[in-house]
Point group: C2
Chain length 164, copies 2
């Protein structure tokens, strides 16, 4: 790939906010990405560029409650750059850094409707965590967002050897 | 005061999300408070209780980009418990912990329309940061949220002696 991956910067904020809803099939996602993540979690958040064009990003951090846990908050890839390994590149860069920081597990949350996100995480050895309900055979956590929204909780160990 | 102050817990999430919009004069604030803050930033986030009833909370963290900076993301106080020092109690508890962690400054962001928030911060020795525009005599940062929203940036030094 000719892509480069680098740490996120605050100057990435406005251009990414302008495209993020479109990248998510016009779902209103921008409110999930306040500027604070682009200021205070730069070390563990990354942008992929293709010839200076931002084509993907990952926002993650290390838990301050559980220092051995890392958390991936948000990932976006330009729809015209999908299925080229950009999401994988972002996740692997994050895993590497979190191992360096001494984390032993990575957590992430997705929607039960987002089958491609669930499959993507499973290919990277995330497992679906037990929840409080089962939806179409999927363990889910109800009212995760405090407003009735159900989510799938995903977890990956960083200690076992990667085989993907 | 008969109030107690304690670290936030994940079990505080659903009850707080249910009231937070009402506490903010029915503005839609809940989307600014994803559950992640109640999971991964418990050490630096606090709840005030009055006889077991949650009457105020603060969500803050230490910057992972700038380890000497602390950031206050969100504060809410039950309207029927205002002007009793609950906000101040939450901020002072946060300042104390951030000093223990070695932080030298605290940042916060508010809306230019929120005069009482600006005055509250100024009473706690926050100063208004230079911005890129002036609105009714107030230094503001335009397009802070990437969607055209203007904000007031506030900063307090933790190294000078407190005199409030």
């Amino acid at each position: 790939m000719g892509y480069i991956i680098r740490q996120i910067e605050v100057d990435d904020y406005a251009p990414i906010i302008q495209v993020v809803d479109a990248w998510w099939d016009n779902r209103p996602m921008a409110s999930m990405l306040p500027r604070l993540f682009f200021i205070h979690f730069q070390k563990s958040s990354f942008v992929v560029e293709d010839g200076g064009k931002r084509v993907g990003f990952l926002v993650g951090f290390r838990s301050q409650t559980y220092p051995r846990q890392a958390y991936i908050h948000f990932v976006g890839v330009d729809p015209s750059y999908r299925n080229q390994g950009i999401g994988r590149l972002l996740y692997l860069r994050f895993f590497t850094l979190m191992r360096e920081w001494g984390c032993t597990e990575v957590h992430s949350v997705t929607s039960p409707q987002n089958k491609s996100s669930i499959a993507f995480h499973q290919r990277l050895d995330f497992t679906i965590q037990p929840g409080d309900a089962v939806l179409n055979g999927l363990a889910v956590t109800t009212n995760y967002d405090g407003r009735g929204g159900t989510r799938v909780l995903l977890k990956k160990s960083l200690t076992s050897e990667d085989h993907y």
